[in-house]
């Protein structure tokens, strides 16, 4: 699980990339990830080019390398299982460092690992240069249904609050000696989850009442967000277009 709070994912800055309209950044990030995903795994050069492109974006955005690596290490345990594939896969085998592994399995592990890292880096860069509320706004401009955007907006806004509430409940349980080690001790935790749902629901009722009293009727007002200019699209298109060209080249040239 990606634990942590949304605002710690953002690196404050005023770089060219920070200033780009969010819909441009969301569309670009998505195109880059698609390009990476369709690239054949034998095209090592293509993955190197993606790496360079992302490094360039990191440099222009002035996102500290340490921050990027720290965030990546939080994501990587979730692809750790790909290291198992060479051992369980079938096919011809080779010896690597004294271990017998499947050649095809190694290729697959490499494929999943490199694509997962490049994909995660892209989304980390997107969030590091764009506040979450702007990302949602950008998704709205890209024709994602408004109800969906509103729900996601509420979720992001209340996530921290509700996670804190769960943390406080957990502390209270610990203070009273609840320290579960086995799954049959899960009872109190589950009841706490139920109580948390009730508290969340009742909070949503209060929030809704407060919003109605301030004139809410179905959608949030747009607070002067600017439309992306065509020139911005052209400048921002450099990276995703380069990535797509690389992917298509890698697909077309004989291997």
């Amino acid at each position: 699980m990606g634990a942590g709070h949304a605002h710690t994912l953002y690196v404050h800055g005023h770089s060219r990339i920070h200033r780009l309209a969010p819909e441009i950044k969301v569309a670009s990030a998505f195109s880059v990830v698609v390009a990476v995903a369709i690239t054949p795994r034998e095209a090592f050069w293509a993955f190197a080019v993606y790496g360079i492109l992302l490094a360039a974006v990191t440099a222009v955005a002035r996102v500290p390398i340490g921050f990027l690596i720290l965030r990546l290490t939080a994501v990587l345990p979730f692809v750790a299982f790909s290291f198992l594939i060479p051992f369980i896969a079938s096919g011809s085998e080779i010896d690597v460092l004294g271990l017998t592994v499947s050649v095809e399995g190694l290729w697959s592990a490499w494929n999943i690992l490199v694509k997962a890292i490049l994909g995660a880096t892209t989304s980390i860069l997107l969030v590091a240069t764009t506040e979450v509320s702007s990302i949602l706004q950008g998704m709205g401009k890209l024709k994602v249904p408004q109800v969906f955007i509103s729900i996601a907006g509420f979720m992001v806004r209340y996530l921290e609050l509700i996670a804190d509430e769960l943390g406080r409940m957990r502390n209270a349980m610990r203070a009273r000696g609840y320290d579960p080690r086995w799954v049959w001790q899960v009872g109190p935790f589950a009841s706490a989850a139920g109580v948390l749902f009730i508290r969340s629901y009742e909070r949503s009722e209060r929030v809704h009442a407060a919003m109605i009293s301030r004139g809410y009727h179905g959608s949030m007002p747009d607070l002067g967000s600017t439309r992306a200019r065509p020139a911005d699209w052209v400048v921002a298109a450099i990276v995703p277009v380069a990535a797509v060209v690389v992917a298509v080249t890698a697909l077309v040239i004989p291997r």
Binding site: M1, G2, A3, L9, V26, V34, V36, A37, I38, P40, R41, E42, F78, I85, A89, S90, G91, S102, E104, G105, S108, A109, I112, K115, A116, L118, A120, T122, S123, V127, P145, V147, F148, I151, A152, F154, M155, V156, Y158, L161, I162, A163, P180, R181, W182, V183, W184, V186, F189, A190, S191, A192, A193, L196, F197, I198, S200, H208, Y216, R255
Partner: protein, 327 residues
């Protein structure tokens, strides 16, 4: 279950993406039509609740932990349509903002974690409700069983997707056996938490439970506590039994499979990876002694999933019509 980018091939990603978009789009339209705007803050805060509950790991046995998936619980608390929308929001934000699960893997991640557990889990819940007594404990037990079933449905769905979009030479039978086997046990945790959490809500605010709207006050007061230990031991026994049965016919001789694979020396040409013209990924069926048996298992699993999800969707549509006519 959060699959990263490039885990399944491009065709499977696009196909599952289309299915997910269609189903969630339908659920969104329904949510918009049938409810007032106060469902929007509710859905958002419920999504934050699911997200927070997923972050909180609970112990399974010394050293290992698990976490709630929450699709079935969300569907029973909020209704299948709103429940699936809420979990979809969680999965999308996890991919986009927390880099947890790939952006191009969203199609299958939404299908496996939001659509199938919500609609399939809700259909299972309705089924178990018919078998169990109309009382608070009946609802709690049905929710637990639906939670368990939703996790297994989701594991089956993943294996079937692997059959079409495998990117590694691990056969369908192996993936199916491992995924369903492991999730039979993981599902027990999901069952206990879904059941008990629902019981807590039912005890304090029964009016908030969508799936228990039919219960009267008298029904609700008829509750008999089920000891967690009994529930768990029963669940584990059933899981082991089912796992035993499945392993009997899914892969009766895994060593045999491996030896055949090495003897025949299946080395796939790597060049037909993406634009593979065959319907099934070569990897998933490679090295299987009895390909038709695998396909039969996949077919049965696929039919079960479609049946459960379809029933859930039908139930969601019917519920809306009912409420429209009575109001």
């Amino acid at each position: 279950m959060h699959a990263p980018d490039g885990f399944l091939n491009a065709g499977t990603a696009v196909a599952t993406g289309a299915i997910s978009m269609g189903t969630v789009g339908m659920a969104l339209r329904q949510v918009k039509q049938s409810v007032e705007d106060n469902q929007v803050p509710l859905a958002g805060i419920a999504a934050a609740f699911i997200f927070a509950a997923q972050m909180f790991n609970f112990p399974v046995a010394a050293g290992t932990t698990g976490h709630l998936l929450g699709g079935a619980l969300a569907a029973i608390l909020l209704g299948p349509s709103l429940g699936s929308v809420v979990v979809t929001v969680v999965v999308v934000i996890q991919a986009l903002v927390f880099a947890d699960g790939g952006m191009t893997a969203l199609g299958y991640n939404i299908l496996n974690m939001a659509v199938i557990p919500s609609f399939g889990g809700y259909a299972l819940y309705l089924g178990f409700r018919r078998l169990l007594p109309v009382s608070a404990s009946g609802v709690v037990a049905a929710a637990g069983l639906a939670g368990w079933g939703s996790v297994i449905l989701s594991a089956m769905a993943f294996s079937v997707e692997w059959l079409f979009g495998a990117t590694a030479p691990v056969s369908f039978a192996e993936v199916f056996g491992a995924m369903v086997g492991v999730h039979l046990l993981i599902g027990v945790g999901e069952a206990v938490i879904s059941g008990l959490a629902l019981g807590a809500v039912l005890g304090a605010r029964p009016d908030l439970v969508f799936g228990a709207a039919d219960l009267s006050r008298a029904d609700l007061s008829r509750r008999r506590g089920i000891p967690v230990r009994t529930f768990l031991i029963g669940g584990l026994m059933t899981s082991l039994l089912v796992a035993g049965i499945i392993s009997q016919f899914a892969a009766d001789d895994p060593d045999g499979l491996e030896s055949v694979a090495t003897e025949t020396g299946i080395v796939q040409g790597a060049d037909d990876q993406i634009f593979d013209s065959s319907l099934f990924a070569d990897y998933a069926t490679a090295g299987i002694e009895n390909e038709s048996l695998s396909l039969a298992i996949a077919g049965v699993a696929g039919a079960l999933i479609v049946l459960a999800v379809g029933t859930g969707i039908l139930a969601a549509i019917r519920l809306r019509h009912d409420s429209a006519t009575t109001v």
